[in-house]
């Protein structure tokens, strides 16, 4: 479907600033990064699926303790994400930083195998793995944008996210099938995960290339890198504010699934069905949504995505055990991801100069994840105090307000340009 372009024709396309609407070409770098993500996601999701079972049921750790460690890790990830971004930007080592991140994660799989039942070691390895994930995300996303012509940024992210989501769907399926065949095959899962991760790293090593920056940009690197100059970028300040405001009313999928589950009165066994449904819609729509965003405006697509999320909340509130309503809710949720995740990165990339690309994307991701954490905490509080209806309705209203604020802010930022 997507043709691999030779480097020369890509440069031509960049120079001309035109990419044909129908053929929708995506650069070879983006495709290779997408495949890297596919393989490494298969690898990490395989382990992530079985790790709670392994640690809680077989090593006797309390779920609460595991949850706390997980929470600390998420905080550490945010910090390392910024570090990874700054390093990649300062020396232009996007590929190298990403490769270190991916390789450390692969080595962690080997560590899990060696750790056996030493649970402190396992928790340590999980922490290192998360840190490595934090390190690699921003340079990778920056490299995607640097390898794509400005006119098809969102398409590139869309294609990358499609491959990424495919890996995230395959991983758990593979892990669960292994456990079904070999009931205590945790070590087999770790080994297979390692082998898949190595292939992912090899794709990155052999088929992804750093994008050479022109001397102007390199000179700028030494004059002003780091986090501070980000704020001066036209439009970016508004964008980060918009992303933060919107994420403050974006709750974790888990709550939406739980709301649907209570409405349906169904067994928790169908929980994975919700996950697969959402991911399926996401991976189907990510590339087309990116293409549409490139064509008709990334801001419009991004804000519309959140508008759709508001209706996903409404569907979760109103479905009341109706299967059609619940399915609609999942479709809306998947569409929201397809319309916002890659599109936001594309939007930010278009505003950030080359030497600030990684740092900017990392800052954006950090602001978003902090906002979501606050959202989930307050949603959980409302849920505990008032039951299901109040949080969904109030978040629906709050999200509509946030979308209105975003429209105003984004209109101002586009006027700046």
């Amino acid at each position: 479907m997507y043709q691999i372009e030779a480097g020369a024709s890509l440069r031509n396309a960049v120079r001309m600033g035109v990419v044909p609407w129908r053929t929708g070409r995506v650069s070879r770098n983006v495709l290779a990064l997408g495949l890297t993500s596919l393989f490494t996601d298969v690898s990490s999701e395989m382990v992530a699926t079985v790790l709670p079972i392994y640690v809680v049921l077989h090593l006797g750790l309390t779920p609460l303790y595991f949850g706390i460690v997980d929470g600390i890790n998420n905080g550490a990830t945010a910090v390392l994400r910024l570090v990874g971004g700054v390093i990649a930007d300062r020396w232009g080592y996007h590929k190298e930083v990403a490769l270190v991140g991916y390789s450390v994660s692969a080595i962690c799989k080997l560590g899990l195998l060696a750790a056996g039942s030493a649970w402190t070691l396992i928790l340590g390895i999980v922490t290192v793995d998360r840190a490595a994930k934090g390190l690699r995300v921003a340079p990778r996303d920056a490299l995607i944008s640097l390898s794509s012509p400005a006119s098809c940024l969102a398409t590139s992210y869309g294609v990358h996210r499609t491959l990424d989501a495919t890996g995230a769907m395959l991983g758990p399926l593979i892990a669960l099938s292994i456990l079904a065949v070999i009931p205590i095959g945790f070590d087999v899962i770790f080994v297979l995960s390692l082998s898949v991760a190595v292939i992912g790293c090899a794709i990155l090593l052999f088929f992804v290339e750093n994008v050479k920056r022109d001397s102007e940009a390199v000179a700028a690197t030494y004059s002003g890198s780091g986090i501070r100059p980000l704020i001066d970028q036209p439009g970016f300040r508004e964008l980060i504010a918009v992303a933060a405001v919107l994420s403050l009313v974006t709750v974790s999928d888990g709550f939406i699934y739980l709301g649907l589950l209570q409405g349906l009165g169904a067994s928790a066994g169908i929980f994975p069905l919700f996950y697969v449904g959402t991911a399926g819609v996401y991976l189907l729509l990510a590339a087309p949504a990116g293409r549409l965003a490139d064509r008709f405006g990334r801001r419009t697509m991004f804000v519309s995505g959140y508008f759709i999320l508001a209706f996903a909340y409404l569907a979760a509130f109103g479905s009341e055990g109706d299967w059609v309503g619940s399915a609609l809710c999942l479709v809306l949720l998947g569409s929201y991801y397809a319309m916002t995740d890659g599109v936001l990165m594309a939007l930010a990339s278009s505003m950030l100069p080359v030497h600030l690309r990684s740092t900017g994307l990392a800052a954006l991701a950090t602001a978003t994840s902090l906002g979501r954490l606050v959202a989930s905490l307050s949603f959980g509080g409302l849920w505990t105090a008032y039951g299901t209806d109040v949080p969904f309705l109030s978040f629906f209203v709050a999200l509509l307000i946030a979308v209105s604020i975003s429209i105003v802010l984004l209109r101002r930022s586009s006027a700046d340009e």
Binding site: L61, L64, L194
Partner: protein
């Protein structure tokens, strides 16, 4: 060498590595999966018609001893024996029929996971498979509960109620991973505890749901014990994070003991199905199991050693409330089953992370050493006298 070739080599090496490891993992197992099965329970009794006793010919002893302990052997092509024979119960004289225990069979063979009736320590070679596959099982008063995990693309859970000839009478869907089940002495009521996995999403901690079922009609009497009014020191006690588990019924089958956990404390409560109330009795008692003479409760006492949870098997006297630790020093995560009034049965994994478990027995008075009772089995349910026509 160009990049494509290098990449190809890396792929080949990593795929080979994985393949070799999987081959090694499958072959290193000291107890490979055996292509044998337990004999069906029907061979010891024609359960569908006459319900008369039929004891199979005992296989020749010389053959039986030829294999080492711990192996599953096929004798005469039909009957499987379990290695070592255990000492007879001390109060054997009072038990008129050979002791039978229902278990989840965990031998690595074709019958793995099936509900089996075991009488191997009295009737050599005696473990017989039923048609039910259960993760947890309990049986009393001629009725049983079998908690089923149906692995599929999406794993689902259900409870199968069965009668004294292992025929399914009712099937109820379950909300989560099976944890505990108990049937009241007269077979009227059953309690089922599951881990509700979905609920853990919001809190980062697990939740349980315990329901009570009418075994005669297959209806749910109490969907969740959290609906009960909980009374502590004469006052209504109500907290949001209540979790109930580990029900054990009294003889009248309307009253029961259970664990109520809230805010990290584990209370022993006494519940009443008719009045839908539960009274807090005592803290620090988890997974109670009432002795047949109803004088004591065996339970697991939580030992907090940092992040790791351990449980010490203990017994509390219901008159004096004196607690006594049993001699089992390993951590036991099970609701114990009383073998008789002096000994308790419980499951322990073969080794950490193992798929197989064994049932152990230890004296309930804090003396003696634990002994292995049944190999390759878990979730023991002792068939009490008069409960079952099979003998």
């Amino acid at each position: 060498m160009n990049k494509g070739t290098k990449f190809f080599l890396v792929c080949v090496v990593s795929v080979l590595f994985a393949a070799v490891y999987i081959w090694y993992a499958l072959s290193r197992s000291t107890r490979p999966f055996q292509d044998v099965a337990l004999p069906p329970v029907s061979i010891i009794s024609d359960v569908s018609s006459e319900r008369e006793t039929f004891i199979p010919e005992r296989p020749g002893k010389s053959d039986a001893r030829s294999q080492s302990k711990g192996r599953m052997d096929v004798l005469d092509g039909s009957v499987m024996r379990h290695g070592e024979k255990l000492a007879l119960p001390q109060d054997a004289g009072r038990v008129k029929q050979p002791l039978k225990v229902l278990v989840r069979h965990l031998g690595l063979d074709q019958s793995f996971g099936f509900l089996a009736m075991d009488s191997s320590h009295r009737d050599p070679g005696g473990r017989y498979a039923t048609n039910l596959t259960c993760h947890r099982v309990h049986f009393a008063g001629g009725r049983g509960v079998c908690l089923v995990v149906e692995r599929g693309f999406f794993t689902t859970y259900k409870a199968v109620l069965f009668n004294e000839v292992f025929y399914s009478t009712f099937t109820l869907p379950l909300n989560g991973i099976p944890s505990r089940t108990r049937v009241s002495r007269d077979g009227r009521h059953a309690a089922i505890t599951v881990f509700v996995s979905g609920h853990s999403y919001s809190e980062g901690r697990f939740a349980t749901e315990t329901s009570i079922v009418d075994m005669e009609t297959g209806t749910v009497l109490v969907a969740n014990l959290e609906e009960f009014d909980v009374i502590r020191d004469g006052e209504l006690f109500s907290v949001l994070d209540f979790n109930f588990w580990g029900v054990t019924f009294m003889k009248d089958s309307d009253r029961f003991y259970a664990t109520l956990s809230t805010n990290g404390v584990f209370f022993l409560v006494e519940g009443n199905i008719a009045s839908r109330q539960a009274y807090v009795i005592r803290a620090g008692v988890e997974c109670p199991s009432l002795s047949p003479d109803e004088t004591r409760i065996a339970f697991k006492k939580r030992l907090s050693t940092g992040a790791r949870v351990g449980w010490r098997l203990s017994v509390v006297n219901l008159e004096t409330f004196r607690e006594m630790e049993l001699t089992e020093s390993r951590s036991v995560d099970d609701q114990v089953e009383w073998l008789d009034n002096s000994r308790v049965l419980y499951g322990l994994p073969d080794k950490v992370g193992s798929a197989t478990s064994n049932v152990w027995v230890v004296s309930a008075d804090g003396t003696g050493a634990p002994e292995m009772f049944l190999e390759d089995a878990v979730s023991p349910a002792v068939v009490r006298e008069g409960d079952m026509p099979l003998s």
